[in-house]
């Protein structure tokens, strides 16, 4: 027993270090958001201010356009997540289960789309969207985000489908199911963790996307939250307190979302499908 204690302690310590490292910026965000403006620069570097206030939150919620940004972001991110996950489920299933002629080239093409720095694409995309009336609109953002996220989400979903034994579908078909019934009643329920992960991934990606939101949108009406954060940066100063308060608020939906899906994320639902 005595010998095995050291590795355990080291292991726990390593995890602790990792967690502290990962969470420290979030803690700082929280700390600054509750620090009164007059203490922000006067107290030096402290772990926690001597006095806390929720003034920044109140201001952000009452007197800024933040609620609009928030709503826009929610609409864009949720729509993108749903659209992308639906497409990626179907295409991922096809890549995992069917062999068809152009499969290799389709996969290569999808990989290719992932290689370009997005900045290169801003101008052409603006050119395409503007005659369609999709600039300065949430729909336009959903279209662009979906296009960018479908390839990766497809690969993600494919790997989840690959993890589900083919035997299960075959057993279902022998039991009397059509291919589609087998997909819907057997495969899809088993892919829920994968679907949850994909939803979460795409939602977060869309939630924090700045470049295209900045380029395609002007004005506050259709601005998403990352663009909105920039409004706290004025020519002469940055209002850190309000910016951080807005940031904390923006974390809430993402946090809630993961809370909802974490049950599926950690659940190894396919365990026990095949021999044990």
């Amino acid at each position: 027993m005595k010998q095995s204690l050291l590795p355990i302690v080291a292991h726990r310590l390593a995890i602790l270090c990792y967690i502290v490292f990962a969470l420290f910026p979030l803690f700082w965000l929280l700390k600054v958001s509750v620090t009164p403006n007059d203490l922000l620069y006067s107290e030096g570097v402290r772990m926690w201010p001597s006095r806390t206030t929720f003034d920044h939150y109140a201001f952000v919620l009452r007197h800024s356009a933040f609620p609009t940004f928030f709503k826009n972001s929610l609409i864009v991110s949720a729509s993108t997540a749903v659209v992308v996950t639906a497409c990626a489920s179907l295409s991922g299933y096809a890549l995992s289960r069917f062999s068809f002629r152009a499969k290799y080239w389709i996969v290569a093409l999808m990989l290719l789309t992932q290689m370009f720095p997005l900045v290169m694409l801003v101008a052409p995309i603006f050119k395409i969207l503007s005659p369609l009336g999709l600039t300065n609109s949430l729909t336009g953002l959903v279209v662009v985000y979906s296009a960018f996220n479908v390839p990766f989400a497809t690969f993600l979903m494919q790997s989840f489908f690959d993890g589900i034994p083919k035997d299960l579908e075959e057993a279902a078909m022998i039991d009397g199911a059509t291919k589609f019934t087998a997909f819907r009643q057997i495969i899809l329920p088993l892919t829920l963790p994968g679907i949850a992960a994909t939803l979460g991934f795409v939602f977060t990606a869309a939630w924090s996307e700045l470049l295209f939101a900045l380029m395609l949108i002007n004005g506050n009406d259709a601005a998403t939250f990352p663009v909105g954060l920039l409004t706290f940066v004025s020519k002469f100063s940055v209002d850190f307190g309000q910016m951080m308060a807005a940031g904390v608020l923006a974390l809430i939906p993402a946090g809630l979302f993961f809370l909802l899906i974490q049950r599926y994320l950690v659940q190894g639902l396919t365990a026990g499908a095949v021999k044990g």
Partner: protein
């Protein structure tokens, strides 16, 4: 229940040919075992019958109807997979009733069918559990239960016992045999284990390299193997093979020993052949007659004893129930009774 006919069936994946013209007539209610080494195409054949693989050439008929282009769901067969393929998100009862629910069977009927199958397999206390919470043997039973809840035209088994430990395998083997005696359903059972094949089959289909080598009852295959492959595959420990030449009504071994044999059908004087004899048929003589052989190794199995002998450098295995053999060492004399000697020509075909 139904008969199954397979005619000139071929399967290829691209340019790779896997099955080369299989012909097989399976009678209504018969228990057929497909046996052969791994990779010989047993699963492929079974999956073609199930409709999970396309037919490249030839025809499959179930109950007289051509099913080549029929979807698996319309073939009305049940299959037990090696991996069991239980639906992880359904309870044991849900797994067993799935096929009936898909057919929109009445609730009471489903309940009765599941209860019936569960009691046959001793699954009653487990009905509400998920597959995850079952042992390997229990999962195997659920897979069997899923197959027997409805009355399909035929049962297909693809190595259903190979993931179980030896003791359980023996037990399930007997249960499958009992179940077949009970249901009398046409069954096709794939295995690479010749003991399973021998114990279960009405008829064995021995396969090798995508070709059927021999079809017959277990004892036919044991007593009169059609070729070297079947002779070597059936039986454990495996048959001894010795190169010989046919001269004057006897087989002359490399070392010059003469072995009297029943004269084979058509063989020329002086032509080469392979002599086969099962370890359990070799007699250890005590009167000094027969051929001399050195004892290399003695393996007691509890039930009997396997002796590894060397006859002038040729390895020969002997299986005996005589415990005195344990004390043997040095040299023994053995004889090959003519009625147990198999002869194969230089192409491996049985000639006597």
């Amino acid at each position: 229940m139904a008969s199954i006919e397979i005619e000139k069936l071929e399967k290829s994946y691209g340019h790779v040919s896997v099955l080369h013209g299989i012909d097989l007539d399976i009678r209504d209610g018969e228990f057929i075992v497909l046996v052969g080494p791994s990779g010989c195409g047993k699963s492929t054949l079974l999956r073609m019958i199930a409709g999970l693989e396309d037919v490249s050439k030839g025809e499959i008929r179930i109950a007289g109807n051509r099913v080549n282009d029929l979807h698996p769901k319309d073939r009305d067969i049940a299959m037990v997979f090696q991996s069991y393929a239980l639906y992880p998100h359904m309870s044991v009862a849900g797994n067993m009733s799935y096929s009936l629910r898909l057919r929109k069977t009445a609730k009471e009927k489903i309940g009765a069918a599941v209860a019936g199958a569960a009691s046959k397999l001793g699954l009653e206390p487990l009905l509400e559990r998920r597959p995850k919470a079952l042992s390997g043997g229990q999962r195997q039973r659920v897979a069997m239960g899923r197959a027997i809840v409805r009355q399909p035209k035929a049962f297909l088994f693809d190595e259903p016992l190979s993931n179980l430990d030896a003791r359980l395998r023996e037990q399930m083997r007997a249960e499958i045999k009992k179940m077949h005696a009970d249901l009398k359903a046409t069954s096709i059972y794939v295995t690479h284990d010749q003991i399973e094949a021998m114990t279960l089959a009405d008829r064995i289909v021995a396969m090798h390299g995508g070709v059927v080598q021999q079809v017959g009852s277990p004892l036919e295959l044991y007593d009169r193997p059609a070729n070297l492959f079947v002779a070597g595959f059936i039986g454990s420990p495996g048959m001894n093979f010795l190169d010989a030449a046919y001269l004057g009504g006897a087989a002359i071994l490399k070392d010059g020993s003469r072995i009297a044999v029943n004269s084979p059908a058509a063989v020329q004087e002086g032509s080469g052949l392979t002599l086969g004899i099962r370890p359990e048929h070799i007699v250890i003589t005590t009167d000094g007659s027969g051929m001399r052989a050195g004892v290399e190794l003695v393996e007691p199995t509890g039930f009997g004893i396997i002796l590894h002998l060397s006859m002038h450098g040729l390895p020969v295995k002997v299986f005996t129930l005589d415990r005195q053999a344990l004390a043997l060492g040095g040299e023994v004399t053995v004889s090959f009774p003519a009625e147990h000697v198999h002869l194969f020509d230089d192409e491996g075909k049985r000639i006597g």
